[in-house]
């Protein structure tokens, strides 16, 4: 964030578009809400499934819009590539840095500086390593929802080794 003049910004025509930072603030509030709700008072693992579920809905819906002007996907890999490149760069400012697959339905999406982690994690920092999964549950759901709407049923989990990088594991369920 650099200092900006009010004038330059207010003179632009109304875009009707929300500023990028709002999503981050809203997301943080949603994480807090889910953690503080009654089911999370108990001991044990944090219950993050509402976040995952909200992400699912968002992914499912946003896909309907994003693929509107897009030629039909050739296959599964084509779809995953769309997610890594186009979806990711418009949602999270950059593409997925590395995509691996075993060609049997397992995809590992590696983001070296995930947007929701870049404000908390210094490179190679171990601070917040324990809390950070809270910030990924929504995106796991978003991925799962996006894929689901494109006809790929999957489970998505996230893994963090060092901030601010993380990996999303997509396991496609074959029927």
């Amino acid at each position: 964030m650099k200092q900006q003049n009010v004038d330059t910004k207010t003179n632009l025509p109304d875009t009707g578009e929300a500023d990028e930072c709002l999503f981050e603030y809203l997301h943080a509030e949603m994480v807090n809400y889910v953690l503080s709700s009654k089911t999370n008072g108990k001991e044990g693992e944090e219950e993050l499934s509402p976040l995952e579920w909200m992400g699912f809905g968002v992914g499912y819906r946003i896909m309907e819009r994003l693929t509107r002007e897009w030629a039909r996907f050739k296959d599964e890999l084509d779809t995953i590539k769309f997610i890594c490149m186009d979806l990711w760069s418009s949602l999270y400012r950059k593409q997925i840095d590395n995509l691996r697959t075993n060609h049997q339905g397992v995809y590992v999406l590696h983001d070296n500086a995930f947007r929701l982690l870049t404000n908390i994690g210094a490179p190679d920092s171990t601070q917040y390593l324990r809390e950070a999964p809270r910030l990924l549950a929504f995106t796991c759901g978003l991925l799962r929802g996006s894929l689901a709407n494109l006809g790929i049923v999957s489970t998505v989990t996230a893994e963090i080794a060092t901030l601010p990088s993380c990996k999303f594991h997509v396991q496609v369920q074959r029927v």
Partner: protein
């Protein structure tokens, strides 16, 4: 102008059908169902035809003396079917495409309504309005 517009879900069940002439509804429903099979066929032609069906617009599905039936399938496996009158002068290709673009964008908006549960019947004023426009009634 379109005389019937239908949205078919991933499971091939109709999520929305509207006809300009409700008394002839049954006849249109029948046409829509026939179209579903043709669309499925077009999409499942295997890899040989893949290049052709990469476009979302599927073109003319079939025609009768009175009507021409066009199809469109989204990346998310939703199908749109539009029935136009054969006598209609405005049957140029890009006009038909335009109709589907409008429909698709109205559908995407309806899906983004947080209160719409994906897979349910579409009950949306916004979508109704768009369909009415396509059918030339207001």
């Amino acid at each position: 102008m379109a005389v019937c517009v239908a949205v078919i879900g991933k499971d091939n069940s109709p999520k929305y059908i509207r006809c300009s002439d409700e008394t002839a509804a049954l006849q249109f429903h029948y046409k829509v169902h026939t179209s579903i099979d043709i669309i499925e066929e077009k999409l499942n032609t295997g890899n040989k035809m893949a290049a052709d069906v990469r476009e979302l617009f599927l073109g003319l599905l079939f025609s009768t003396e009175e009507h021409k039936i066009f199809g469109y399938a989204t990346n998310t496996k939703i199908k749109f079917i539009v029935v136009l009158q054969s006598t209609n002068a405005s049957l140029r290709d890009n006009e038909v495409r335009m109709i589907f673009r409008k429909l698709h964008s109205a559908y995407a908006n309806a899906v983004c309504n947080p209160f719409y549960v994906p897979g349910d019947q579409i009950q949306s004023k916004g979508f109704d309005t768009a369909v009415m426009e396509i059918m030339g009634v207001s």
